[in-house]
C-alpha cells in the first residue's frame, strides 16, 4: 500500500489528526514547565487515546477512558499538584539536568518497539472497521470467562481505597490524642 492509497481513506485522515494532536499533547506533558499545564495536557492526550479507541470500534473502552481518566484521575492529579506544591506557576527546576541521555534512551525504546511491530505485523490490517463492539459482549466476558479477575480487580480497588485513606491520614500528635481521650 502506497502513501497515496493510505491517505485516500478518510478514516486515516481522522487517525492523522488525532495522532498528531495526541503526540503533541503527550510531548507537552513531559516538557511543559508548568505542572498544572502538564496535567491539563494529559487530558488532551487521553482524549486522543479515546478517539483512537472509537476509530478501532472500542466504544465502551473509549467512554471508560473519558470517565475514569479525564473525569476522576486528572482531578486527583490536580489535587495532588495543588497540595504538594504551593507555588503552581513556572518552575525551572522541574526537570533534572540529564535530559540528553533520557531522550536517547526513549528514542532507543521507540526504535526497538516500532522495529518489532513493523517486522511482526508488516501489513496486517485492522479488520471490520466501523463495526461496533457490543457492550453485551464485554459484559458476558466479564461475568463469564473473566469473573475471577473481575472480582480480584474489585478487591484491588477496595484495598486501594482503604490503603489510600490509611496512608494519607495524618497521625494524631500525643497531645491531640490525649485531648480526644479526655472528651
Amino acid at each position: 500500500m502506497t502513501f497515496g492509497e493510505w491517505i485516500a481513506e478518510p478514516v486515516n485522515w481522522a487517525f492523522l489528526i488525532i495522532g498528531v494532536g495526541m503526540l503533541f499533547s503527550a510531548i507537552r506533558v513531559v516538557t511543559s514547565p508548568n505542572v498544572v499545564h502538564a496535567a491539563l495536557y494529559l487530558v488532551a492526550a487521553l482524549g486522543g487515546v479515546a478517539g483512537l479507541f472509537v476509530l478501532l470500534s472500542a466504544e465502551f473502552v473509549a467512554l471508560s477512558i473519558v470517565l475514569v481518566y479525564i473525569g476522576a484521575v486528572i482531578v486527583l492529579f490536580l489535587f495532588g499538584i495543588m497540595i504538594t506544591r504551593a507555588p503552581t506557576g513556572l518552575d525551572t527546576a522541574l526537570d533534572n539536568p540529564r535530559k540528553v541521555p533520557a531522550a536517547l534512551l526513549s528514542l532507543v525504546v521507540f526504535g526497538l518497539l516500532s522495529y518489532a511491530s513493523v517486522t511482526a505485523f508488516e501489513s496486517s490490517t485492522v479488520s471490520r472497521v466501523g463495526e461496533p463492539t457490543e457492550t453485551a459482549t464485554l459484559a458476558e466476558a466479564f461475568v463469564g470467562r473473566f469473573v475471577v479477575p473481575f472480582e480480584i480487580v474489585g478487591f484491588i480497588l477496595l484495598a486501594a481505597l482503604v490503603g489510600g485513606v490509611t496512608i494519607a491520614r495524618r497521625d494524631l500528635t500525643p497531645l491531640e490524642e490525649e485531648m480526644r481521650r479526655s472528651v
Binding site: 513531559v30 494529559l42 473502552v61 475514569v68 481518566y69 492529579f77 489535587f79 533520557a102 485492522v126 471490520r128
Partner: protein
C-alpha cells in the same frame, strides 16, 4: 487502516512516557508519565483486539482491567506522595535519598 500505524503511534507515546519518567523531578509528574505509558499499552491491547476480533473481545476486557488497576495505582501513589511531602516538605524524587547507599 493498517495495524502498524496504531502500533507505532503507541510506541511513540510509550517513549514519551519513558522520557518524562526519567527527566521529571516532581513525583506527581513522574506519575503523569506513567499514565502516558499505560495509555500506550491500552492502545496496543485494543489494536490487537481490532486485528483478530476474538468472540469475547478479550483485548478490550484486558484494556478495562488495565484502566482499573491504573486508577488504583494513582490513588495509592498520590497518597504516598502526599505523606512524603508532609514528612519532608518536598515531593522531588531526587531529594528522597534517605535509603540511598
Amino acid at each position: 487502516m493498517i495495524a502498524n500505524q496504531f502500533l507505532i503511534l503507541a510506541a511513540a507515546l510509550f517513549a514519551t512516557g519513558v522520557y518524562g519518567l526519567l527527566v521529571r523531578r516532581n513525583a506527581v509528574m513522574v506519575l503523569l508519565s506513567i499514565e502516558l505509558m499505560l495509555a500506550a499499552v491500552n492502545i496496543n491491547l485494543v489494536v490487537f483486539e481490532a486485528m483478530w476480533r476474538t468472540s469475547e473481545a478479550i483485548g478490550q476486557v484486558f484494556a478495562l482491567f488495565v484502566i482499573t488497576v491504573a486508577a488504583a495505582e494513582v490513588g495509592i501513589g498520590l497518597a504516598i506522595i502526599l505523606m512524603i511531602f508532609r514528612n519532608r516538605q518536598s515531593a522531588n524524587v531526587d531529594e528522597l535519598d534517605l535509603m540511598r547507599w
